[in-house]
Amino acid sequence: MKKFNYLLTVLFLVTSVSAQQNIGKKHLQLNINCKTCHTCDVPTKNEPCLVTCPRERIATVYQKPEETPELIVINELVKRYSPVYFSHRIHAQMSAMGGGCEGCHHHNTTGPILKCNSCHEPNRKRENISLPDLKGAYHRQCMDCHREWSGETGCNSCHVPLKDYKPEKKEVIQKRYAGKEHPVILEPTKLVYETNSAKGKLVTFYHDDHSKKFGISCISCHKQESCSKCHGVNRVTDNKPIKVDTKNTFEEQHRNCISCHSKNEDCSKCHSDKVLAPFDHYKSTGWALNKYHINLSCAKCHGSKLPYKKVDNQCISCHQGWNNENFKHSVTGLQLDEMHSELSCEDCHLENNFAIKPSCTNCHDDYSYPKQKPGKVVGKK
């Protein structure tokens, strides 16, 4: 009966909420009990009857790991074991590629972080057995990863038996956990996969090109990684291809790729019988990237929308602010001498076309670049 009433309320709320057009779609998708945030049955825009929360301490679950507490002491269920010192920040960093904050703070509102015990009951003997109890909830969070990471399920990796426990001052413990951070994750440059594709077995994946040049963020591919993705597995140290043996469908297996590359693209772009060379701007477009451009992400020139917008090879197409007065010629690797720096661009670069060889004929009869240079070579900076 209680449940029925609850359903009715929810139904009523949903209908009345959706009737108000000004309530965001996101709000409805939260999929949480309205009572988590509202005290009355029918919150309206004018009277949202929000639960009073300590506004100044409000935190969302979308914090950066670095903004989260370093240490959390879990001491609610102390019985056989001492309190657990949980190094929160380093765990938050670790889970950045494994589901983020919501991995543990599931069903949280966008408002304050809910305590585990606001839903999970401390008593195992209880009426509502739909959710795990508090002890179960805590341990599931920890042990799921820990047993994958270490293969162990012993209690003493987190707990100290009560008999061996020496209470310490909180400051002392805090000091011990201060500054504990996950080491910077080293990014692979090139990964070669041996697939079971009939044609073009080898796939060469330039990881750093994708992350640095193409500007793809780690979590757009690595959403649900577990620690063992990097730890506890035999990382390929020899240069042998990584075997991919999967029963996934085409879509499942290529999910990350086809979010950018079209599904109908030529397979041989990635699949080949040999290890492929990285993307080469000169080969593909005829325009070599110099020292300045090579480190830019593609989006800097081609826009962030896919497919990339084409740009011509005129400097001022991108460098729109450059003009006769402010342009420092030395960035090209050639510092103009005093005489030449007085000239305007098109005196040498005919019709302001910087893609073709500069010409000296405007002033000199028998001079030609690069045999003769209008200054000194400084090397590109």
């Binding site: 195992r124 003997k125 179960g136 047993r147 994958e148 399920t153 012993g154 209690c155």
Partner: protein
Amino acid sequence: MPGKSRRDFLKKSAIIGAGITGLSTSTAKAGPKNILSPDRMGVLVDTTVCVGCRNCEWACKDAHNLPAGNLESYEDRKVFEKKRRPDHTALTVVNEYSPGKNSNMPVDVKVQCMHCDHPACVSACIVGAFSKQENGSVIWDTDMCIGCRYCMVACPFQVPAFEYHKALHPDIMKCDFCFERTKEGKLPACVEICPVEALTYGPRTELVRVARERIKKNPDRYIDHIFGEYEVGGTSWMYLANKDFSELDFPKLGDKPAPGVSESIQHGIFAYFVPPVSLYALLGGIMWISKRRKELEEELK
């Protein structure tokens, strides 16, 4: 009351006699206590949650005064190299299997008596020592047990173990659903200790609802099968898993109660076991008579 005991004794002697000669005990034997309460309790074992810490093995022994050793020694995962069965030294054991779907972690499965809703052991027990209690547990009366091992043969899960080491006082051993503990309002010892609450204790009807909900909410995590919901007519302990139960050493069983439960013992599987059964009955009868005589003598003193 020696008088009553004697009457009891005579009645049971008659049953044994009938068992030996005609094997049609079901008509002659006193009806065992066999309650199927709508409020009976059960346990839902979620093998996708179990981490194989074996704390439950320790807690079970500890609660039943069996040599348990210290809890740390249970961290040793080498035991998983062999598949084990519950026996008289351990009423429950955890076995490990290769990962199921969408997971790269091994599947750990706790094994113990299933506390069937229509227990074959209860029907098979010729002296009525076994009973299904109101709270769902299937227990037995040590004093009544004659050590005939009918229950061992009858159990579709091969659960009851025999305490061979006490020749003079043979006894059946199996999980008793912590009958003494739950009577005092405590949780079964294994349920209480489980760090991840892979074992959920509650009314059986509620457990079925919870199990269905879990499968519905996480179709990637589970196969669509609650083992024990219907098997052999339903069991109080039920299981969820992410791979076929036959790959986890669960027997393939129909939805009907095990043979021999509703029919007379002569039918069903016992029909094929006539020679050993008669032998057991005979041996059992003798054992029981001598055991009982000793007790009677003491009572009469």
